[in-house]
């Protein structure tokens, strides 16, 4: 599943329309969802971005990718108004910490560095990249659960660091801009679904889990041995022959089959 986070409702609405996301009530944050994507509106600021991303990743363990999308400012010399930029590095102004997502796929955007600040900038500070208020918080929280190639930040230039935007014009232009990146969003949704399948436990492991009563430690060993057995092209039938229709009632019965499985899986 793909997690999308935005700071404001104005940023969320066109995404909901584009991806067909429906509001889901009863959560700590405004949440919109379809089968493949969950969108969370965090509120402004790095702290909110961090808290909401952390909440979503804890609440929905099926999330395998995360995207932070939304407005950013930039000097006129860095980027054009209403242009998309894919973020290759994030600097947190307060801590100086640098975050670097891996970019392993081609994409249609220009790339920029992002500086996350604590308050709205009303003047050019000479930073040769984009400026926002959420990126670093989102990235740091997402990294607690995801590899750096599973995190993306996509920013849209909403102002030239004046601190002011015309809400109506911005809303309309942003909605058009979201429609233009529909392909990219669909690609991310697909990618998130694919890696979720890759990371799912094998059906064989599932079967062993259902037909034996094993401890967590035993299951960890089974998972490891099974990966090797499959990689060596082991015969699944040999394993299946050992499995009872139902889990043995006594601990000793489970232990005996565990040992037999061990002999087969370890080769």
């Amino acid at each position: 599943m793909l997690l999308v986070t935005v700071a404001l409702m104005i940023e969320a609405r066109p995404l909901c329309a584009q991806l067909g996301l429906k509001a889901v009530s009863g959560h700590s944050y405004p949440v919109f969802q379809n089968g493949k994507t969950i969108l969370v509106v965090s509120g402004t600021g790095a702290l909110n971005a961090s808290a909401s991303a952390g909440w979503a990743l804890g609440r929905f363990p099926e999330i395998s990718m995360a995207l932070n999308i939304g407005f950013a400012g930039a000097s006129e010399t860095v980027a054009s108004m209403h242009e998309w930029r894919y973020i290759h590095s994030i600097r947190d102004e307060a801590s100086g910490h640098m975050g670097i997502p891996d970019i392993l796929w081609n994409h249609p955007f220009k790339e920029s560095a992002l500086l996350t600040v604590g308050k709205v900038l009303r003047e050019d500070i000479g930073w040769k990249g984009l400026v926002d208020m959420e990126g670093s918080g989102f990235y740091q929280a997402a990294r607690r659960s995801l590899a750096p190639d599973r995190i993306a930040l996509l920013k849209w230039i909403s102002d030239y660091l004046t601190g002011e935007i015309d809400v109506k014009i911005t809303e309309r232009k942003y909605a058009n801009a979201i429609a233009e990146i529909g392909d990219f969003l669909n690609h991310l949704e697909e990618e998130a679904s694919t890696c979720a399948v890759e990371e799912a436990q094998s059906p064989y492991f599932e079967m062993i889990q259902q037909r034996l009563r094993l401890s967590q430690t035993q299951l960890l060993f089974i998972e490891k041995w099974l990966a090797g057995y499959i990689a060596r092209g082991g015969d699944w039938q040999l394993v299946e022959d050992l499995l009872p229709e139902e889990p043995p009632k006594h601990k000793s019965g489970n232990a005996r089959i565990f040992e037999q499985l061990k002999n087969v899986l370890k080769g």
């Binding site: 290759h88 640098m98 891996d102 970019i103 995801l146 690609h187 057995y229 990689a231």
Partner: protein, 337 residues
């Protein structure tokens, strides 16, 4: 549009070496890559929870300044450690090839290639180590291509040339450059250097094809080795690791016969022969590698090391060892079992 990004689509450069001449040389070769300034190479290389094998499909380049540990002493897993004068450098971390058995995938957190551009500091450290080497009667044995394949990266980094130029003026040094590459251009351009030995790692063709992704074929490596020998370079070969692959008797027998026929044996200074062995810590991480059978053999785990059982190790090595003696004298074969 959403295909894998090309190798080195992004080049991360430490601020400290942004204006270094070698950095500029490397960047000139990649005009279309995205340049990203960083504070420290560990910002990229040392991140936790990276996916080594997904990165391997689209590795990035990191240019940095090596601040410490310019030279390392040998350890029990490395060849050459029997010499008190042995040491190695890690001026480049990670390799362009993707060998299933390689310890690098268990050693580093990420698959990106880090190149430390301040070679001169390492040259100085090696000169100091040479002046104070334990056995002054023998040269300082300096391996410069252990945690990478320096010659395979020559078109990208150009470090090989600098090492050769430096080695020309180091009479008390034996610089060993280990490689699987099929490099010809550097050898064509450079006259042989007496203090440099090129060491080709050779594997049977079925092993190279299945387990050494991206590396040149056995024939291509032999061709490069012969080219080097013809030009008068000092050469050695490494048959390491010998692997327990299906039909290993036949595979390795045919392999050694091929080497018997095709290698310029009088010029081969030594053969390193060893079986697959690994530190347990590296092996544990390597086992997460998807889609390989090689790392799921029922290995023996003992003394913080992973390898085949002793009888298997002896069996694997002895056949090759006996056959090799048709081509090279026994004392020139160094065994690692």
């Amino acid at each position: 549009m959403y295909s894998k990004a090309k190798h080195f689509s992004h080049i991360y450069v430490e601020g400290m070496v942004m204006d270094h001449p070698r950095t500029r040389e490397v960047l000139k070769r990649f005009p279309r890559s995205q340049l990203i300034p960083i504070d420290d190479y560990q910002n990229v290389f040392g991140r936790s929870r990276q996916d080594f094998w997904r990165q391997k499909a689209s590795p990035k380049l990191v240019l940095a300044h090596k601040k410490e540990n310019l030279l390392y002493k040998g350890n029990v897993f490395l060849q050459g450690n029997e010499s008190p004068n042995f040491c190695y450098t890690a001026q480049v971390l990670n390799c362009p090839y993707d060998c299933h058995y390689c310890y690098l995938q268990g050693m580093y957190a990420g698959a990106n290639i880090v190149a430390f551009v301040n070679l001169e500091d390492t040259f100085r450290a090696a000169e100091e180590a040479c002046a104070t080497r334990p056995d002054p009667k023998r040269p300082l044995h300096l391996a410069i291509s252990y945690d990478t394949d320096l010659l395979a990266l020559e078109g990208i980094l150009g470090f090989g040339r600098d090492w050769l130029r430096w080695a020309e003026s180091q009479p008390d040094m034996l610089v060993e450059i280990r490689t699987k590459s099929a490099i010809h251009r550097l050898l064509a351009e450079f006259p042989p250097v007496d203090t440099v030995r090129l060491a080709w790692t050779l594997s049977p063709d079925p092993v190279a094809r299945q387990y050494e992704e991206g590396a040149p074929s056995l024939d291509a490596r032999i061709k490069a080795l012969k080219h080097a020998a013809d030009k008068g370079w000092r050469i050695s070969i490494c048959l390491d690791p010998v692997l327990m692959v299906p039909g290993h008797h036949r595979v390795y027998s045919e392999f050694v016969h091929k080497l018997e026929r095709e290698l310029p044996w009088p010029q081969v200074e030594q053969v390193e022969l060893g079986v697959f062995r690994m530190s347990s810590t590296h092996f544990k991480r390597m086992q997460k590698r998807p889609g390989t059978d090689l790392l799921h053999y029922p290995f023996e785990h003992a003394n913080n090391a992973v390898s085949y059982k002793l009888e298997e190790r002896k069996e694997l090595v002895s056949e090759v060892f006996v056959q090799l003696q048709n081509s090279i004298s026994e004392e020139k074969i160094h065994l690692w079992i």
